[in-house]
Symmetry: none
Subunit: 222 residues, 2 copies
Amino acid sequence: MKVLIVDDEEMIRAVLREYIEFEGGEAEEAQDGMEAVKKCRETDYDVILMDVMMPRLDGFSAVKEIRKFKQMPVIMLSARGEEYDKLFGFEIGSDDYVTKPFSPKEVMARIHAVMKRAAASAKPVKDVYEFEGLKVDMVGRNVYVDGERAELTPKEYELLFYFIENEGVALTRERLLNQVWGYDFYGDDRTVDTHVKMLRGNLKEYRKFIVTLRGLGYKFET
Amino acid sequence: MKVLIVDDEEMIRAVLREYIEFEGGEAEEAQDGMEAVKKCRETDYDVILMDVMMPRLDGFSAVKEIRKFKQMPVIMLSARGEEYDKLFGFEIGSDDYVTKPFSPKEVMARIHAVMKRAAASAKPVKDVYEFEGLKVDMVGRNVYVDGERAELTPKEYELLFYFIENEGVALTRERLLNQVWGYDFYGDDRTVDTHVKMLRGNLKEYRKFIVTLRGLGYKFET
DNA sequence: TAATATTTTTCACAGAAAATTCACTGGGCT
DNA sequence: AGCCCAGTGAATTTTCTGTGAAAAATATTA
């Protein structure tokens, strides 16, 4: 387990490092966002603990920057009351957050949760899925409805692929917008609905797989 | 089992201590909130018994203070009729309460309940819960009653999930409104009742898990 | 480059579903 | 017995989704 601790406070870094190493993990430190980005370019970490307020480059900007070239789980460390930051942190794709003051125990619990999640999602991804008469070729970007090729637009492909990758998981519109459209999309919720409508139309009878979860969003379920 | 008893009355402390030690537990005492906070800084307790009315620093303020740096289960000891205090105590995160005059037996029961809960919540949050024939899939948003899928409305899901996340914790209507409906909800208390009714109806025989606490609210208990 | 085609997004509206209110009933507790 | 308080059913109000059409953005072609 390799963890990157990003915080400008020496003390916090030291405490976290101690806990991580006590559990047999490996810890590296960065004093600010700039250094964090640099280290991430060179090394792969299992999880990054990222403070929000830092000199030079703040936590959010750093995560944004890192996300451009690498996908690694991030846990944000935000001072209490930074509500706005908290939300924003999620939007840019951090996996969790802890508010200061935090107990090291709490942080370790988050780390374990994130690692476990990562391990779970490392399940072999199939290239071709078949749900009854619906065949989806993830690599070739082809979808067949009862053997006949369905002409989907790019967004429809992406949406369908995301649904399939998260089969059985309840997805909010917000999450779909974040994951399929990207964190920097600031558009209407209805956009999702419209694309779901189009996708359903193209899936013909297999529209049934996309279930509406009233008050929440959608779910792909066979 | 390490317990901190916080009360300004010598007699009460002595009685509680006796019971705790009789059951093989370890007890420490504090005469007021100030002392309690100080002791909590130095030592980790499994549970804190905290009186409300005390000189120097009252119980609520003390809990608030302690919460700032440590997370420990608290059972409030409030004089009967201190209704307001009771509610407030829940909001600041005490785990249970006992009204004076109480039987030591009652207090011990609460302690055991709290300890059991703490042991249970130490494990990572589950995705799927099973209580007898009631299966709740938090991720997929599915609820099965004896294997059959229950169709819940959004509020019913949220309410059930909140109940489950707070298994064994007494929840006031106010707290439910705040947490499930949102802090900006200014509605009737009866609203909770109605949704509990609907939820119970959908849970069929497992309605029994949602216990009515007369004069207070509800509790999810298996 | 301009014109055209395709895709994406916005938006308003209708119908459906759900939430809320509220008066009344009945049970538990003193 | 009387007083609260929770349970309940139904009416009312609010919210939500599906949809179609138009506008905007993007890609393609001449």
